[in-house]
Amino acid sequence: MPQLDPHSFISQIFWLIVTFGALYWVLAKAALPRIAQVLEDRRRAIEQDLEKAEKFKTAATATLAGYTDALAGARRKAQDGLRATAEKASARAAEAQAKLAAKLADEVRAAETRIAAAHKRAEGELDGIAAELAASVTERLTGARADQARLARAVKEAAGER
C-alpha cells in the first residue's frame, strides 16, 4: 500500500502546510471579508428598503384618508347645493302657482259678479216684459187697453208668488 511508505511523508506534510496555509491566508485575508461585506450590505439594503416601503405605505394610507375625506366633503357639499336649489325651485314654483291661483280666483269672482249683475238685470227686465206681454195679450183678447199700473202690480204679485 503506497500510503504506508514513509518516504513521501515529509514532502506531503510540507506541501500540505504550504497549500493549506495559502488557502487559509487567501480566504481569511481576502475572500471572507469581502463576502461578509457583500452579505452585510445586502442585509442592510433589504432592511432599508423594507423601512422605506413601510414609510411609503403609511404616507399612502394618510393620502387615501385625505382623499376619502375630500370626497365625502365634496359629496356633502354637492348634496347641500342640490337640496338648496331644489328648495328654491319648489318655493318659486309654489309662489307662481299661488299667484296664478289668486289671479284665477279674482277672475272667477269678477265673472260671478258680472253674471249676478246680468242675472239681476235680466230679472228686472222680466217684469217689464211680462207686463208688456200681458198688455199685449189683453189688448188682443179684449181689444181694450189694460191699465198699465194695475198690470205692473199684478205681475209683481205673481212674481212674488213664485
Partner: protein, 248 residues
C-alpha cells in the same frame, strides 16, 4: 494492467531536496496546489466586486460561506466566529481534494493517511491547547460527565479519555478509509472489464456492460461520499471546538 492500489502511488514531479530532506513536488503536491487554487479562486473570483443581486458565479461563494457559517453558529454558537476561517478552509480544502480526485487519472491526496492525519492531529492539538487556555486544569472535567455516581466514574473516565485521545485517529482514518475504499472499488470493478474480454472474448466484452453500469452508479455514490466526508470532517472539527469552548 495497473493494480487497484497503483493509483495511490506518489510520483515525484520536481525533485527538491533541502538540507538532506526530500520535499519533492509530487503528484500529491500538485493536486493540493490545484485544490487550493480552485477553492480559493472560486471564493475570490466568485464574489468578484460583490454585486447587490448575485449572479450564478457569485452565489457559489455566498452559499458556501452561509453554509459553513450556519454550521459553526449551530454547533459552537457566537464564540465560533473566530474559528470560521479555519473551518471553512478545512471544508473547502478537503471538498476540493475529494472532488478533484474523482476526475479520471487525477490523484486524490485525501486518500493518504499522512495528509488526513496531519490535519486531524493539528486540529486535535489546537483544540486541546484551546481547551486548557480557556479553562485551565478545569478542562480535565471533560472526561468526567456530571450527574454520574463516583463508582461509575472509575469506568467512565478511562473511556472518555480513550475516546478523546482516539479522536485524531478516528477523524483521519474515517476520511482516508472512505477515499481509499471508494477509489479501490472503482478500480477493481473497472479491472473486470478487460479481464472479461481477455477471458471470454467478445461475449465477455458484452458482459462487461454490467461492471461498467455498476461503476457509473458507484461514481455517483463516490461524489456523494466526497462531499459528505468533507462535511463530516468540518462538523467534527466544529464539535471538538465546541467541547473546548463550552466545557459541559
Amino acid at each position: 494492467m495497473a493494480g487497484p492500489l497503483e493509483q495511490f502511488e506518489i510520483q515525484s514531479l520536481i525533485p527538491i531536496v533541502v538540507g538532506g530532506v526530500d520535499i519533492s513536488f509530487t503528484n500529491s503536491a500538485a493536486m493540493m496546489v490545484l485544490a487550493s487554487a480552485v477553492a480559493g479562486g472560486l471564493m475570490l473570483l466568485g464574489i468578484g466586486r460583490g454585486a447587490m443581486v448575485p449572479g450564478r458565479m457569485q452565489l457559489v461563494p455566498e452559499m458556501l460561506y452561509q453554509f459553513v457559517a450556519d454550521l459553526i453558529r449551530d454547533i459552537v454558537g457566537a464564540e465560533g466566529r473566530r474559528y470560521f476561517p479555519l473551518v471553512l478552509t478545512i471544508f473547502l480544502f478537503i471538498l476540493a481534494g475529494n472532488l478533484l480526485g474523482m476526475i479520471p487519472f487525477a490523484f486524490t491526496f485525501t486518500s493518504h493517511i499522512i495528509v488526513t492525519f496531519a490535519l486531524a492531529i493539528t486540529i486535535f492539538i489546537g483544540v486541546t491547547v484551546l481547551g486548557f487556555v480557556r479553562h485551565g486544569a478545569h478542562y480535565l472535567t471533560l472526561f468526567a460527565p456530571g450527574g454520574v455516581s463516583k463508582y461509575m466514574l472509575i469506568f467512565l473516565i478511562p473511556i472518555e479519555l480513550m475516546s478523546y485521545l482516539v479522536r485524531p485517529i478516528s477523524l483521519s482514518v474515517r476520511l482516508f478509509a472512505n477515499m481509499v475504499a471508494g477509489h479501490t472499488l472503482l478500480k477493481v470493478l473497472a479491472g473486470f472489464i478487460p479481464a472479461l474480454y481477455v477471458g471470454l472474448g467478445y461475449a465477455g466484452a458484452a458482459v462487461g456492460v454490467l461492471p461498467l453500469a455498476l461503476i457509473t452508479a458507484l461514481t455517483g455514490l463516490e461524489l456523494l461520499i466526497a462531499v459528505l466526508q468533507a462535511f463530516v470532517f468540518a462538523v467534527l472539527t466544529c464539535i471538538y471546538i465546541n467541547d473546548a469552548v463550552h466545557l459541559h
